[in-house]
Symmetry: D2
Subunit: 107 residues, 4 copies
């Protein structure tokens, strides 16, 4: 019998849902995707700074990779909520998929 590994995402999805309902409702899916892309772009900028490829302009704030990752996580959860996707279940399945991929790599 398969025991779920991940059970912590339901709460998070619930909290984001309450937040969104209170603050105007979900955007259209392609607009949420566009917002997620904007956030991943900001993650990219931060990582290029961290890894030394890009100097920060002086008037920019200090490194804020954590904030950008959390923004991205927020928009990811919004998309999942919009489509009634159970992230616990999907994340569990992904871990199993990775395990199987890994276990057959050297056969």
């Amino acid at each position: 019998m398969h025991m779920p590994v991940i059970n912590s995402l339901k709460d998070l999805q619930q909290k984001v849902d309450e937040w969104i309902i209170k603050h105007g409702g979900y955007w259209a899916p392609l607009a949420m995707l566009s917002a997620a892309l904007e956030e991943l772009g900001e993650v990219a900028r931060e990582i290029n700074y961290y890894e030394g490829f890009k100097p920060k302009k002086q008037n920019e704030r200090q490194l804020k990779l954590g904030e950008e990752l959390a923004d991205l996580l927020f928009s990811l959860i919004c998309i999942a909520n919009y489509y009634n996707i159970d992230l616990n279940r999907e994340f569990d399945k992904v871990l199993i998929k990775y395990l199987e991929r890994d276990s057959t790599r050297f056969l």
Copy 2:
């Protein structure tokens, strides 16, 4: 006093860390970013299907947005882990930031 809203991500980060340690360790950050981009690209394809802009080829699997979102979540957590980012704390701060942005919108 500020009470944390989100406390469910520590476990998830821990589980992903154990998984990664057992399976070869973290990639270089820009390679993890590239993987996250690949996953967001697959989320994009699925959403364009859902929203009716793109027909699926017959030999492609059924819609699998949940799986793509979980893949993206996995790579997001890998990046956070690599940089020792506490996603609970960052997610909390993001919720507060959104609340403040919202509360001043109509002043």
Copy 3:
């Protein structure tokens, strides 16, 4: 007097426009953006292969970075056409912006 550096993109925009008109017209802008993201995600996958982070599955085609970059270029031009953006002019301005950024970097 400023002489244009780039004058080769007008033709390309024109050809793509003729192609699109003949084949059903432009998609909604956010759907074109989503398509561009999907293509950039495929560029990301190819670069991670080239740079050695990811093995190709055996049933996947050989490396095809050139094709993915051309797909991305196509969707980029579609977005520019949709919004009546003159890419020659914008590209010229970008080259000038980069020159100025560069020339002040060491002051």
Copy 4:
């Protein structure tokens, strides 16, 4: 006999190459990809503004989608140059691919 449709990108690739050589050389490929992602993220932000999903902050500049698309085009060409990809040839092949896809859609 197949006649090339697109012949305008060689010049552009050449000009970007001269520019890059003069200004420090190409970045590592994954860093160029990260820069391209950052630019596509800015394109995303602009499109969400144009399409009405996001208000601009007052201290932000006016809409600048053209500039962001040209930035993206620049980084796309850098990646192509780095890998010695002939964009004319690849773009031609993509147009042919799209034509074939289209012509079989209703069979």
